[in-house]
Symmetry: C2
Subunit: 516 residues, 2 copies
């Protein structure tokens, strides 16, 4: 770290709560590599789950997948799949061989080793809400996502250790689509050393992205290809369709050793059956078909099983999140992922239009479904509103409070002699006395408890005197403080210079429009 990089840290320590970070304390919790401490919950019996898996394999054999990319059809056919037009029928031996070659553990390489994340069953990583066309906050209101929003969102995401991975974030709609991937990669290189996200919007953009990432990380082609340095998310087009850019993304990322998270987005009652069992069976089939493509291209390529299944409101057809159906779908998906042995991603999220009590309750309910389902990666775990149409700066902060508390639970607690404290606490205080000055309390008062970001414990009188500000108003202070800190570059100046020169050259050449 340079002296400049240290300056904000010194300021932060002096300032205390006002800038949204806890005051100087002896606590130094590690939120960067988490293990899921919660017991795994199943919604179906083992037999029921096995029947779902069997049905999914039968679907791939008998009903088939529609595949729109000729290159992908050829790869499936070469492996022995039956092809009729754009329909691909996958025998189970092809699928089972692919699942067998997919890695059980993926070492995701970030910009700094202490930011690396290992994805495997039992690990736990969070991403903020992602893929939103709009951004909102209490200061500036709801607006189409812009370059400024993307940059700010990147900085806020980077700020919180509990986000171990970057996310697809907010769409910078004011950047031309043929140049947007330059902007989003450069911004990630500048503002974060966490494991980055790349959109798969056609081979030209993907190859640009890979080249830029090699520059930013200082990697040879060989070094890049032999480690997972970035990831993309592949949504199938449920039911049973794999479109051109998604199929291309699976091929390109697998070919270059980069990670795909395969996630059918299956809304029960709309593009998926109305039942949890039916929707997860469909999702499972599509997921296995996509994973198979990656393994046919490059056996052992890093790939993560994924689901995002919730229900629609049957009165309006609108998507709902944080519902019992969403929760149970996460449990069911976890059962399928464990059957395959693969790391898997699930999702929280909210359908609410503002960061209100509904938004909080939906997000947390969805989160617990993911946690009890044993999800490895939980996306949309903070900030997601309107079923993903908007990300809210205040909601990122209020949801991070919940994620930080979950991260604290990952650390567990001890009950040794010192903690039980017969000698240093329980026998030191008379009946009806207090423990404020007990030796155990004095030893631990500034390390024992989680310190909140935005939750306020003032009593009603004090809180009223201070302006009766709700959690949202306080959350505005928190994100404003993060953004008011001096900017710092997370990649060395020489690499950034090379990266900017590459972008300048490619921009002059016309960039790379997205493909669809």
């Amino acid at each position: 770290m340079t002296i400049e990089n240290n300056a904000p840290e010194r300021i932060r320590r002096r300032r205390g709560r006002g800038d949204g970070t806890p005051p100087a304390s002896k606590r130094s919790p590690n939120y960067r590599q988490l293990r899921n401490p919660f017991p795994v919950m199943s919604v179906f019996s083992d037999d029921e789950a096995a029947n779902m898996n069997e049905t999914a394999l039968t679907m791939l054999e008998e009903l088939g997948m529609r595949v729109l990319l000729p290159e992908a059809i050829k790869i499936y056919a070469a492996a022995g799949a039956r092809v009729e037009g754009d329909m691909v029928y996958l025998g189970r031996e092809i699928v089972e061989a692919a699942i067998a070659s997919a890695p059980r553990s993926i070492h995701c390489q970030a910009g700094a080793r202490e930011r690396d994340v290992v994805l495997e069953l039992g690990a736990l990583a969070f991403q903020p809400g992602a893929g939103a066309p709009h951004a909102t906050d209490l200061k500036r209101g709801r607006r189409p996502g812009s370059a400024q929003d993307f940059t700010e969102y990147t900085r806020i995401t980077h700020h919180y250790d509990v986000f171990q991975m970057m996310s697809p974030s907010v769409e910078p709609q004011d950047v031309p689509t043929n140049l947007r991937h330059y902007f989003t990669l450069l911004t990630q290189a500048e503002r974060t050393d966490k494991f980055p996200f790349l959109f798969a919007r056609g081979t030209p953009q993907t190859l640009d992205n890979f080249e830029m990432l090699r520059i930013a990380r200082g990697l040879s082609e060989e070094e890049f290809r032999t480690g997972a340095h970035a990831y993309t998310i592949i949504n199938t087009n449920s039911p049973r369709t794999l479109d051109i850019p998604m199929a291309q993304g699976l091929i390109d990322f697998a070919r270059h050793g980069q990670m795909c998270i395969v996630t059918p987005f299956t809304l029960m009652g709309a593009m998926a059956p109305i039942t949890v069992a039916g929707a997860i069976t469909l999702s499972h089939a599509e997921c296995m078909a996509a994973i198979t493509l990656t393994q046919l291209v490059n056996p052992g390529a890093p790939v993560c099983y994924g689901t995002f299944t919730s229900n629609v409101d049957m009165k309006s057809g609108a998507p709902a999140f944080g519902t019992p159906g969403h929760f149970q779908a996460s449990l069911a998906a976890g059962q399928m992922a464990r059957m395959l042995g693969l790391p898997w991603r699930s999702a929280a999220g909210s359908a609410s239009n503002i960061n209100d009590v509904q938004a909080a309750n939906e997000n947390q309910m969805g989160l617990w479904g993911c946690l009890l389902g044993g999800a490895t990666v939980i996306i949309h775990s903070a900030g997601w509103l309107e079923g993903g149409l908007t990300v809210s700066y205040e909601k990122i902060v209020t949801d991070v409070e919940v994620l930080n508390m979950v991260a604290e639970l990952c650390a567990g607690k001890k009950a040794g002699t010192d903690e039980i404290g017969f000698a240093n606490a329980l026998s030191q205080v008379a009946p009806s006395g207090h423990f404020f000055a007990a030796p155990q309390t004095m030893d631990r008062y500034n390390t024992e408890f989680y310190e909140p970001l935005v939750h306020d414990y003032a009593n009603f009188g004090t809180w009223t005197e201070r302006g009766a500000r709700d959690a949202n108003a306080r959350a505005t202070d928190v994100w404003e403080a993060i953004l008011s800190k001096p900017d710092q570059m997370m990649t060395s100046p020489d690499r950034l210079e090379t990266l900017r020169a590459f972008i300048e050259k490619r921009t002059a050449e016309g960039g790379a429009p997205p493909e669809s």
Copy 2:
């Protein structure tokens, strides 16, 4: 049911959503008798938990409990406890014999058999926030609790099946203290047939309460004494003190076969050690001492193990709820309760001053601690603000949304042939098609999903056109609709007449002031 009793039901069915209940639907979920479907989570190893239990027994033997009621001291002494002044030292054989005689399963008898609740490990019951001196809502603001608030709170609590038990509710401060117990029992008899709560504020009030409940239920003294028809909550005065009304309550309720929920209120860092292990060890010791008193008075008397342990904010000393410490304390308490084999009560709750995102997140975080701790009864599961100083009508509604969803999860899901739906769904829809009209969807569209009370899935445009109302504003509509329904009496007119005559007589005699 009389014709009058049916009228509101008919109106409700015609009205649909506007009155806060779901529209006519084929769904008829049973929220009245729940089993906890969540896997049990431990925070400590079995050895650590055993050491905590050992330490608690040692505390009772060597450090002792301060007991302020001479009658209680005599009972403990008669069982062989060593007494010095008001200090009682309990040998472990006395405690272990008492725990052995406490019932593992308690059949709580309500006003109607379908409202009965069985409390045992594995069962799950919710109560709304309780014991608040203040009430608040968006229409009338925050005010000292009144008779009107108590009545309204009783009606709202009765309305939701997911509250299987009545709670200590809100304090009707405008009713004289010597007559308050008449008012609160009469109101419960009038407005609900759920399992009632009675305060233990001295023997005269308790005997009045028992007599009134016998009248309301039409029970002989013998019938009353041989079933649990009501309960009270006994808070010890941590650390290690049992005061006069609480000790008297334990004796009176046990003697008459009524249920005590024993709940030390142990804030870590204040009246309890700063560690989860220390605080739960203290709570466990106090709880066992109080349970012992009930069993010495009447072996087999219904008694429920209880804890309420959270942390204080070490900067201000203010209580905090829904924290990692609160969560872990619930897990630890569950381990102790399971060691004894007794049903147990835990608590959610919030420290927030209004029903905002903090209030929602704290309450739900605390709730999940209770659920994963395997709690039998979860009190303060809805409506509790300011660490219990206020109950919020809107928060009851928004928290009930969460509790209803948990109740839905209790029902589980199936994955049989029909649910997986190869024939009636998966094979019926072409790639990229939709399932809106699939046979499986048509069979289930009005029964498959939970229908929300207050969550809104409208898109941003529609929601804005409708007034951009947040969940709190919508919750106001919901509780107003409940209270606007025609009042209905839940006890027969003749019994109510007898009850009112009893109250009139006792009032003329001067009532019964609380004792302390």
